[in-house]
Symmetry: C2
Subunit: 337 residues, 2 copies
């Protein structure tokens, strides 16, 4: 078992940019032990004034589009501009599969060895809400540790896109040029969420198809309503494999950041995201306190049985359990995060 | 404003199969007024012993596949077998659009005039959780009113399929024969949820394409894992417009019902669905009580502001609000459903 350190040790280490300490602090955030949770809350509170100074970029796309290769190439490019880059992953599916998309760091071997980059695998065995919460906290810790760019990778399944959209400033969709079916395979609603589309694998004779796809996506995007940021959605081609087309992507992201900083949208969006986070946190904490309540735990099996047998309505069973909870739930002065 | 009747009046009316009283009872279920909610809980409790005797069938498919036409034709066919048929709709999107897929009963004009059929439009202005809860309650009321078959239509967007799958015994997917792209346009994961596929619009010269699509879907379904019910997924063609192919659909549904009744799966599935309903109800009631709490209402604006400004972490703000809630939430003896 690892040793638990003091709030000051974690805080100082993170603020000094110590990667080992950053990793340990993120691990504390992911823990469900009450002592760790109290500690995590205190560390977060301490580092809070040092957060918010990065550009938070979500990267999505269907499996096979080359997200890892893109992040490795783009991250490496950004470090060449003297940026410090952190990579986080949101993988709600890792609960089922037991693995993690970034569990094997060898997928981003070069970036992982780069002293200006930090790669954090997705936590496993967490609920969707848990993944969202811990990724948000990891973003704050990485910012406190001095990372200028946070890349948040989504696996492109389930609700991971919506989660990542809700915690980033800029949302980049990676696409492939296909055989005439450029607009297929896109999850409904994704196009409305993106700030830019990059057609990847514009290499090895695929350049013309990629250029064609860029034209088609531009047309398609023209039909969508204006984005909340008022910055037009851009479509570009790139090759993560050959590390080409990365500069235009950075140019458009830094341009977006400058425009939305000036217009006030960046700040307004982050403020709205924090309120959403609060609402999620309330839901999460209420349910967690409920199911951890000793009296509830004792009565859940008989409530389930009465409901299963059709003797009791779920509404009444819920009301009875909640009444038990409210009678006893307030006494323990527990710190929740 | 409508008049509120007694528990006995609603209960007796519903059990007597009085359609006007059934409609009024469902309206009471949809109300958020505390007095209506207490009443609704009591009515449900009274009718509970008279529920569970229908076959609950979910019907889904993309917009344009002809769901309404199919339900009108299939419902009419079922009444010709002396079945009493109720049609409900789950439309979480109606909150946004302000309309309802069944709001205009003229879409099922013939069935609406049939004395053995009952059509209930989807409630508007409800959350996803609200729609789920009220549809489940409406199913129970329709069963108590003597309907043998409950058809629950989903709009095929958002999470409506998962909701309907979670409250029905049998899930039917309507599809179209297309120009070689039979397997496209299907939302990922839907195929794994269905008990049967009906290729609609096998009419007007489209018969051969439909037969071809049936063959292709059969092949595709062969690749999927076995269903939890162990009953193989069936694929058939039909024409809602010409009312052909409906008998085989009813044969396979009634066969499914007989097989799963005998195997115990039908009951096991309903028992599991009731526990899921209880979990949803707990989540819903906890949040509702929280946000309706007077002290919480008073403190939410300042908590939002502190979180928006980055002065306070969402976790801490949530903990503070929940502590206020738990200190005061138990006193009012409110009845929740």
């Amino acid at each position: 078992m690892r040793q638990r350190l003091s709030v000051e040790t974690y805080t100082k280490g993170v603020l000094a940019g110590d990667r080992a300490m950053l990793s340990r602090a993120i691990t504390i955030m992911e823990s469900s032990l009450p002592a760790d949770r109290a500690l995590a809350g205190q560390v977060l509170q301490k580092i809070l004034p040092h957060t918010g100074n990065s550009i938070r970029i979500g990267v999505t796309g269907v499996p096979g589009v080359g997200k890892s290769t893109f992040i490795e190439a783009f991250g490496t490019y950004l470090t060449s501009l003297s940026k410090r880059v952190a990579v986080l992953a949101v993988d709600p599916s890792s609960k089922q599969s037991g693995g993690s998309i970034l569990g094997d760091k060898t997928r981003m071997e070069r970036l992982a060895r780069n002293p200006d980059a930090y790669i954090r695998p997705s936590a496993t065995n967490l609920s969707l809400g848990g993944v969202a919460r811990h990724t948000r906290e990891a973003i704050l810790l990485c910012e406190a540790a001095g990372y200028d760019i946070i890349l948040v990778e989504t696996v492109g399944v389930g609700q991971s896109e919506t989660l990542v959209k809700g915690m980033t400033d800029f949302f980049l969709l990676l696409m492939l040029a296909g055989a005439g079916d450029e607009l297929q395979g896109i999850k409904k609603g994704i196009m409305e969420m993106v700030d830019a589309v990059a057609v990847n694998k514009a290499d090895n004779g695929n350049e013309q198809a990629a250029a064609q796809a860029v034209t088609e996506y531009r047309k398609a995007i023209h039909l969508l309503p204006e984005t909340p940021s008022k910055v037009p959605v851009r479509v570009v081609a790139c090759s993560a494999l050959e590390a080409t087309g990365l500069e235009p992507i950075w140019t458009l992201i830094s341009g977006y950041h400058a425009q939305t900083s000036a217009s006030g949208y960046l700040l307004a969006n982050r403020r709205a995201q924090r309120v959403d986070w609060l609402r999620e946190q309330i839901r999460y904490s209420l349910e967690e306190l409920f199911y951890e309540n000793e009296l509830v735990k004792t009565h859940i099996p008989s409530a389930d049985e009465a409901v299963q047998n059709g003797e009791k309505l779920p509404g009444q069973a819920a009301a009875d359990l909640i009444a038990l909870f409210l009678r006893t739930g307030s006494g323990d002065g527990q710190i929740f995060r």
